[in-house]
């Protein structure tokens, strides 16, 4: 049992570190994107930023509780496309949310722990909704991803 727990635990920790990395990247992306978004989208971006900050804090606290050192943010991230206007800024946010969705889905796949599954599903669901908004703003169709988190 203890070896099984250790294995589950290691998997869960790895998944949480990975998802923390995508949350760092998402926060960096939002900080960059707001400079290019129109005012009404800036308001939405701030709400989303707050949500990501909270997720990041929760993951970091959780990892710390488990005796793990939470991974740090990179100083900067490469954007898949240059961010030069509102559409490309929204596209970056859609990408960040897509990456986050994949990492959250992976949390579900890497831990059978029920409360963690609940938390992961909540995060995946909220990420999918944010992703839909930014895909819509970027003109990507369909706005709602069909299988959020599937890579």
């Amino acid at each position: 049992m203890s070896s099984r727990s250790a294995r589950l635990d290691e998997e869960a920790v790895g998944a949480l570190q990975d998802v923390l990395g995508t949350e760092h990247a998402a926060l960096w992306s939002y900080a960059l994107a707001v400079a290019f978004l129109p005012p009404q989208e800036v308001a939405a971006a701030r709400v989303d930023t707050a949500a990501h900050r909270e997720l990041r804090a929760q993951i970091e606290v959780t990892l710390t509780q488990l005796g793990q050192r939470p991974v740090s943010a990179q100083p900067a991230y490469a954007t898949p496309q240059p961010v030069t206007d509102a559409a490309s800024a929204a596209g970056l946010l859609a990408t960040a949310e897509t990456d986050a969705a994949a990492a959250w889905r992976s949390v579900l796949e890497r831990s059978p722990d029920r409360p963690l599954r609940r938390a992961g599903l909540k995060a995946l669901t909220e990420t999918a909704a944010r992703c839909a908004r930014w895909r819509g703003a970027a003109g990507t169709r369909p706005a709602v991803p069909v299988f959020p988190g599937r890579s």
């Binding site: 290691e10 869960a12 929760q58 606290v61 059978p112 409360p115 599903l121 909540k122 909704a129 069909v146």
Partner: protein, 175 residues
């Protein structure tokens, strides 16, 4: 790292509980779960071969939603732009869920009766299908899929979670 973690766990489920309590982070969705996961074994591998595959009902619900979406657009073509993506998504969900059912269970899984939500979908039904009704259906589908996520094995949970998240997003978008 491994030893430290294991040692702490051996002595330490109460310790973890105390830490969690002291820092008042029980309300944080993520914290309690992993702490609980330290001591307990997850039940996510639970799968009984004598029960019907729960994904069959999800696939049926996906088909029902797609049919309902089509009926809503038939009743009001102006809804097409909003609802067609949902119809396409739910059609894709049904196909993916069907494939997973077949992969796991083979033919025995296929002929299960459709759930009640699948029944009232005929396009000629008396009251026109409204956007609100489509939204209600997809919101219910979100709940149905989300309820399974805690207990599914690793190889299935991602698909069902993605279906749940997509349905939730549509319920929000169509509100």
């Amino acid at each position: 790292m491994n030893d430290a973690t294991a040692g702490r766990r051996g002595a330490g489920t109460p310790t973890v509980g105390v830490l969690v309590d002291r820092r008042r982070i029980l309300q944080l969705a993520l914290v309690l779960p992993v702490a609980a996961g330290l001591g307990g074994c997850g039940a996510a591998t639970d799968r009984r071969t004598d029960r019907p595959d729960p994904l069959v009902a999800l696939a049926d619900a996906a088909r029902a939603d797609a049919a309902l979406a089509a009926a809503a657009v038939a009743a009001d073509p102006a809804l097409a732009a909003r609802i067609d993506p949902l119809r396409e998504a739910r059609t894709e969900h049904a196909a993916a869920l069907d494939a997973e059912v077949v992969r796991m269970g083979g033919p025995s899984a296929v002929p299960t009766a459709a759930p009640p939500t699948a029944a009232p979908v005929t396009t000629t039904a008396a009251p026109a299908v409204t956007l609100a009704r489509v939204r209600e259906a997809v919101a219910a589908s979100h709940v149905g899929a989300a309820e399974l996520v805690e207990n599914l094995p690793a190889e299935r949970v991602g698909l069902v979670a993605s279906v749940a998240a997509c349905c939730a997003a549509y319920a929000e978008v169509l509100a």
